[in-house]
């Protein structure tokens, strides 16, 4: 047993961290979040050059042929930097088409999704109209259809961008009557999408924790660093607990997606439920730790708070996933 990344996976992680740290500096994220559209074509091109969009897509369709573990490594880092990117919407669309599409459908759409030149976008929530991330500019939309999924061309859909509190990502309400059914089962891909979103939440929570710890070491009140007071330090210890528990469950769920599919449904629900709660709670506590400055627009923490809240609601809420866990542990 070896519950750690391989050398290759470590390499992916450190490369991703360095790339995103220089690409998505806080001032750049802020500029995108305050602009009309959160995505920059230059950023997307740079991500595509690294081969990320195809990381978990089979080599025969132009991808890297790696698995869910590699996908979540990238997604956690993207979350850590709150990077505005259509990455997850595209990756999720790719996962669903790869799992459920016919040979023709795969051949038609996966190469563009893998290279990032013809992005996909997939349904992440329903309220009751489907909500898709990064649907604007996408070449193909993947939408739920009963228990399966269908492919919809953007020109056949009615799309409306929603102004959400999370302005670091573009969300669209999409209506489409027609579309082309996919023949296969989407359960596995759905779980992978949930785990990817859980990984993003772990990254968001880790960053909020890091910002809080750094501030608690520096900020002086009553003549000493506030991090020396137990009211503050125990809250930070609790935050670490939340982040690490969510991370352990997310990593093990990603491993299950690649290696032990029987465990996957409950593992994915546990990861998404725990990570959703961890990221919302940790970002709330981060603002509490930062105090007044954390409530200002000027400080970056609110972008993380809002991203955490939005991602917690996508791919199934914590409440919904816990209900699924209850079913799977035997409550029926």
């Amino acid at each position: 047993m070896d519950f750690d990344f391989t050398d290759e996976q470590r390499e992916i992680k450190s490369t991703a961290h360095e790339f995103l740290a220089s690409r998505f500096k806080p001032e750049h994220v802020r500029e995108l979040a305050e602009g009309d559209t959160p995505y920059s074509e230059d950023d997307w091109k740079a991500i595509c050059e690294l081969g990320w969009p195809g990381i978990a897509i089979a080599e025969e369709h132009g991808g890297e042929g790696l698995g869910a573990v590699e996908l979540i490594i990238l997604q956690e880092e993207l979350g850590y930097f709150c990077a505005p990117s259509p990455f997850i919407a595209n990756a999720y669309a790719g996962a669903v088409i790869q799992a459920a599409g016919s040979d023709e459908q795969k051949a038609q759409w996966l190469p563009g999704i893998a290279s990032g030149e013809a992005r996909g976008s997939a349904e992440m929530a329903c309220d009751p109209d489907p909500i898709l991330g990064a649907a604007g500019g996408a070449s193909i939309l993947v939408m739920a259809n009963g228990n399966g999924a269908k492919l919809v061309k953007p020109e056949d859909a009615e799309m409306e961008q929603i102004d959400m509190i999370d302005s670091t990502r573009a969300y669209f309400r999409v209506k489409a009557d027609g579309g082309e059914d996919m023949p296969g089962d989407i359960a596995h891909a759905g779980s992978v999408g949930q785990i990817a979103m859980a990984a993003e939440l772990v990254g968001v929570a880790q960053r909020a924790l890091d910002m809080s710890v750094e501030y608690a070491k520096e900020r002086q009140q009553f003549g000493r660093a506030i991090g020396s007071y137990q009211a503050v330090s125990h809250r930070l210890a609790d935050m670490l607990w939340e982040v690490e528990e969510a991370r352990s469950l997310t990593y093990s769920a990603a491993w299950a997606a690649d290696a032990d599919p029987d465990l996957l449904p409950i593992a994915a629900s546990m990861a998404k439920a725990r990570a959703s709660d961890a990221a919302t709670s940790v970002t709330h506590n981060a603002i509490q730790t930062l105090g007044g400055i954390g409530f200002t627009w000027e400080h970056d923490i609110h972008f993380f708070l809002k991203r955490a809240r939005a991602s917690a609601q996508m791919m199934g809420s914590a409440r919904a996933h816990r209900d699924n866990v209850a079913t799977l542990v035997g409550l029926g």
Partner: protein, 379 residues
């Protein structure tokens, strides 16, 4: 990343699982009395004969030399099979490892084998009425005499004191030295009139623990472990051994309890109750979070010698989950669960100690804050 067992790990598990299914003695009689203790002593003898006592100990000292993962598998299998605990658990988990790490050759010769066989039971004399979390402030005095030491003081929360032959005792041998420096680690013979053992009745009504009143007890020089003045360092080793034992097997124990809880909820017609469902799911997530964190920490310890941040929260995860689990059982069961002979009521009451014993939640959070997050010290 590979969460499956390697071939040799799987072989280890299969071998022990097969042995356990042939040799399981059934559940221990409850009550904390002599009958239970003799049952557990006999059980340990059986483990020892088959080479399953002291799995973590090196082979040269009569152990099995198991890797950390194998030790974890061993604990998980015991939990899965609901096997009783061995009688000399403190000797196996703390006493033996300390003698192996810090003892002289003749101490190893003298003490190790009877620990494994449960011929000699060990207890621990660390905590005092005025020194709980602040262990280094302890006041029990050791005064040097020719050939040994005279010990005087009071210890508390001493398990198995009635049965024990040896007490791992930390006492102040130098009252002039700074508080961490003036301590020495002794192995004190419990069979002497200078030690009075009084049972300490706890909120469950039983007495798992004792108080020790020590008045001029004798410890010969050859029973000092790690040298005079090194008691703090030696004691820290045993405490770390105590914590390393937690984790995956603790999660398995919780998983057993959760299964019972799920059955209880169904019996009471509460399987559809949304609040019950939500709480049960939270427990399941807490249990798996503990288990996966423990496995991550094991891998990290095997690779780089220390667990990552995930290792620092295992005790917090375990205690909070066990407490929440027993609280929910009482909630679901209603007033009849509060009957004095109710097993869930016992487990609920016993769980209140979980966030105190083996490091209080409050102190563990200080440790996470200072050592893992590197926050400035409180003091």
């Amino acid at each position: 990343m590979d969460l499956t067992l390697t071939e040799s790990e799987a072989a280890f598990r299969d071998e022990f699982r097969a042995w356990l299914s042939d040799n399981h003695p059934g559940p221990a009689p409850r009550g904390g009395d002599q009958v239970q203790f003799e049952f557990e002593r006999e059980w340990q003898g059986k483990l020892h004969t088959a080479g399953w006592a002291g799995v973590s100990w090196p082979k040269e000292y009569g152990g099995r030399g198991a890797t950390l993962i194998e030790q974890s598998i061993f604990g998980e299998e015991l939990a899965r099979a609901k096997a009783p605990r061995p009688a000399n658990v403190l000797g196996l988990v703390m006493g033996g490892p300390v003698v192996i790490a810090h003892g002289t050759e003749s101490q190893k010769e003298r003490f190790l084998e009877p620990i494994l066989s449960a011929e000699e039971i060990w207890c621990q004399g660390f905590s005092e009425p005025e020194s709980g979390s602040d262990l280094a402030s302890l006041k029990t005095k050791a005064v040097k005499e020719d050939g040994g030491w005279r010990i005087t003081g009071q210890k508390v929360w001493t398990t198995f004191a009635h049965e024990a032959k040896w007490c791992m005792l930390v006492a102040r041998s130098d009252s002039e030295a700074p508080k961490h420096k003036g301590l020495t680690y002794f192995l004190m013979d419990m069979e002497q009139d200078e030690i009075e053992v009084r049972p300490l009745r706890q909120i469950t009504g039983e007495a798992e623990f004792n108080e020790l009143f020590i008045e001029n007890a004798w410890v010969p020089d050859e029973n000092v472990v790690g040298g005079e003045g090194n008691g703090w360092m030696v004691a820290i080793t045993t405490l770390m051994n105590e914590r390393a034992g937690l984790g995956a097997s603790a999660a398995l124990g919780l998983a057993n309890s959760l299964e019972e809880l799920v059955e209880l909820a169904k019996e009471r017609g509460m399987a559809d109750d949304p609040l019950v469902r939500d709480k049960v799911a939270r427990l399941k997530i807490g249990i798996e979070g503990l288990r996966m964190g423990a496995l991550r920490a094991l891998t990290s310890t095997m690779k780089v010698g220390i667990p990552g941040p995930e290792g620092s929260i295992a005790k917090l995860q375990w205690s909070s989950t066990n407490q929440a689990l027993t609280e929910l059982a009482l909630d679901i069961g209603g007033p009849e669960m509060l009957a004095k002979d109710s097993d869930w009521a016992y487990r609920f009451l016993r769980s209140r100690a979980n966030s105190i014993e083996g490091g209080t939640t409050d102190v563990l959070k200080n440790i996470v804050a200072e050592r893992v997050l590197s926050l400035p010290k409180l003091r």
